[in-house]
């Protein structure tokens, strides 16, 4: 029986619960050509996608793990023990009433339908491999904005989908983009027509419910000339005894004069491997901005990138990473300047707690022939305990003469005296640490949308509560 009292086990944040599985489509355990063909069959992929997936699989199998520079912990992922596709076998619903009870209850507990009513222009909710709910406000849909799951996008808008799919992040970009290319399912497909400015954010919520599972969503956002859109994604998973894999690919295309803001609130359970490739392409005078907050997971490797391909294009990454005990946040940003007068900005803040480890990797590339390009990079690390760890690997190659680059880095520590001072004013140790952390990220969080900074503050508090005493 599926009741709230028996199936739910909360011990960390509000995401840590799960309901018994009720999947109709199941690709089984392990990865082979058969797995990939099964996924293609149930999704009724066109031939070019079937080929794309098989090339993805081949590339994935050929490429070694990037352990020559990345964490050896990657070796702990047993690809043969993961389930690659689990789905109810039904189309996503347009109304919450039609969503199966267990799944609906999951998203209600996470507060999604409530947020949708309050401030969102559209919501997609993915449960394991497929979207179970997808809806866009009528007024926004009438402007010609498309917001559906990637499966639907591929089916109903094949021309525009195929034109951009896999163009910003090729299959062979890295081992995990290849894996995603082989087994991708879910994620969002968004198209905003020329000149349309979507006022409120579109939100997708990715939920892992099944054990021994890998989630491989694929998101493609195209903002046509002069349009603007903000997309927010949230992710959670319960804490299972075995590791879970999340390996998404996100491609953004901002055409001439368009603006895309992509916001991630990630609160994974502490045994999720989160290996995600995110990259945006900005044409002339366009802007791609990533706001990326990484909380939870066992190992996160994620370096949102912007290729500034047109004159005066802008790229920005604002990121916050919180590495708690037993976690490694290996995050950063890449800025590829490929036209004159392009500007990029990276602000990265990391917090390491207990034996947590935060790594910043940055890459800024400005080739010799370009003129008047600018980059600003700031990375600040905060260490909470003496055992906490942080590393910074900035790689900045700026050639030519007419380009400007600025790089600042700092490491600070919350001192025992500071905590004592705050306790003397009545705050508990956890409240004191949480306030210190909030102070550290404050100037960055002020640039985030309101609803989002409130959520982030709450997540930081939860994380600090759990890490003290």
């Amino acid at each position: 029986m599926k009741t709230d009292t028996t199936a739910i086990d909360i011990d960390r944040g509000k995401g840590d619960f799960f309901y018994p599985e009720a999947h109709v489509r199941d690709a089984g355990t392990g990865l082979s050509e058969r797995t990939v063909r099964y996924i293609s069959d149930v999704k009724e992929d066109p031939d070019w996608v079937r080929e794309f997936r098989l090339r993805g699989l081949k590339t994935f199998l050929e490429k070694p793990l990037p352990t020559h520079w990345a964490s050896k912990d990657l070796e702990a992922i047993d690809f043969a023990k993961i389930r690659y596709y689990l789905a109810p076998g039904t189309e996503p619903k347009r109304s919450w009433d039609e969503v199966p009870d267990d799944i609906k209850r999951t998203f209600e507990r996470l507060g999604i339908p409530e947020q949708e009513r309050k401030f969102l222009a559209g919501v997609e909710a993915q449960f394991d491999s497929e979207a179970v709910y997808s809806n866009i406000k009528k007024a926004v849909g009438e402007q010609g904005v498309i917001f559906v799951g990637s499966t639907e996008g591929l089916k109903h808008y094949p021309e525009i989908f195929r034109k951009w799919f896999g163009k910003v992040i090729p299959i062979a970009d890295n081992k995990f983009s290849a894996l995603n290319s082989a087994v991708f399912s879910g994620g969002s497909f968004i198209y905003v027509p020329p000149g349309v400015k979507v006022k409120h954010p579109l939100q997708a919520y990715f939920r892992i419910n099944a054990e021994n599972f890998g989630q491989f969503e694929r998101t493609l956002i195209i903002a046509d000339e002069g349009s603007e859109v903000t997309y927010m994604e949230g992710c959670t998973a319960p804490k299972f005894n075995t590791p879970t894999l999340h390996s998404a690919v996100v491609e953004l295309i901002a055409l001439k004069g368009a603006k895309i803001q992509y916001i991630t609130v990630q609160n994974w359970a502490s045994n999720v491997f989160n290996l995600v490739t995110k990259r945006g392409l900005a044409q002339e005078n366009a802007e791609v901005k990533w706001i990326d907050c990484n909380i939870g997971s066992r190992l996160t490797m994620k370096y949102p990138s912007v290729i500034m391909k047109g004159r005066k294009a802008r790229g920005e990454v604002l990121s916050i990473a919180l590495a708690n005990d037993g976690q490694h946040q290996d995050t950063g940003a890449k800025m590829i300047h490929a036209a004159d007068e392009t500007t990029s900005n990276i602000v990265s803040k990391s917090i390491s707690i207990g034996k947590g480890r935060a790594t910043y990797r940055g890459l800024v590339h400005v080739p010799k022939h370009l003129k008047h390009c600018k980059n600003n990079t700031e990375c600040d690390a905060l260490l909470i305990n003496a055992t906490s760890r942080t590393d910074t690997y900035p790689a900045i190659t700026v050639r030519g003469t007419g380009n400007a680059v600025q790089h600042e880095a700092s490491v600070s520590q919350v001192s025992a005296e500071q905590i004592f001072y705050m306790q003397q004013r009545g705050l508990t140790e956890a409240q004191a640490m949480s306030l210190s952390v909030n102070g550290f990220v404050n100037d960055l969080v002020r640039q985030f949308p309101m609803e989002y900074s409130v959520e982030l503050k709450r997540l930081i508090e939860l994380e600090m509560e759990g890490s003290v005493g």
């Binding site: 508990t428 306030l435 100037d443």
Partner: protein, 255 residues
């Protein structure tokens, strides 16, 4: 009994005894000055009262309105009404004075109860004016880049907002010029009243020209060697700590 009652307190740091049998009572509504030369153990006493973990209490007791203070965590002591103005206040980068004090007041409310924002800001601005500070000051990060005088005034502002039952002011006069000293003293004087007991720790008599204590205690080598009314401070100023030290021997040998 409404008093801060310190009984025969012994404090060590490492294997060195700093406070050696100190007894002192500060009833609510009174101001007690604790004077002493450097190294006499004044600041150690203040930190132990606040609950700092670097110090060990090897003997003795401290009661606040009858409650055993030493059994409480530092934050519990604070919430129950003990305030310490630090000699060297910490910086809290990125956290504004307004937000910090709001969090401090919030921590005193029962769970689920929210601090009323309008009342809070009204009170904050009232106290800010009392201390001759500008409102914009409250949106600066706590103690970050503050001058010595600004830090001390911020401590008194916190005292005014948090309304404790007992306040320990640890060398609040150190590093202040005469104008800043007057402002701080004015702030403290305006908070005096039947509901607040103050232990004023200072090295110099100067502060006591502006905050007139009800009682003066002289501490030498970890003990109180002389106690008296406010005139004691002047006598001490005239005759010096050596005179008080003689008292220390008396205190030991006449016991």
């Amino acid at each position: 009994m409404k008093e801060l009652n310190i009984e025969n307190l012994h404090i060590t740091v490492g294997d060195q005894e700093i406070v050696r049998g100190l007894t002192l009572r500060v009833p609510r509504g009174e101001v007690h000055a604790l004077m002493g030369p450097n190294g006499s153990g004044k600041s150690t006493l203040a930190k132990v009262l606040a609950g700092h973990l670097d110090y060990q209490v090897t003997a003795g007791k401290v009661f606040m309105d009858g409650e055993n203070l030493l059994e409480l965590e530092p934050d519990e002591r604070a919430r129950r009404g003990l305030f310490m103005a630090f000699q060297y206040p910490s910086e809290i980068p990125g956290v504004t004075i307004a937000n910090f004090l709001r969090a401090a007041l919030q921590s005193r409310l029962p769970e689920g109860e929210e601090l009323e924002a309008t009342d809070y800001y009204a009170k904050l601005y009232e106290k800010i004016e009392l201390l001759g500070m500008d409102r914009s000051f409250t949106s600066r990060a706590v103690n970050e880049g503050f001058s010595g005088g600004e830090k001390k005034r911020t401590e008194i502002l916190q005292l005014a907002i948090l309304e404790p039952k007992y306040a320990v002011l640890d060398e609040t006069d150190s590093g202040l010029d005469i104008d800043a000293l007057k402002t701080v003293a004015h702030g403290v004087n305006s908070l005096r009243g039947p509901d607040l007991g103050i232990l004023l720790i200072t090295h110099y008599q100067r502060l006591l020209n502006y905050i007139i204590p009800d009682h003066v205690h002289v501490m030498v080598a970890g003990r109180i060697v002389r106690s008296g009314r406010k005139e004691l401070a002047l006598e001490l100023e005239e005759r010096g700590y050596d005179w008080a030290r003689e008292g220390a021997f008396e205190a030991v040998y006449t016991r």
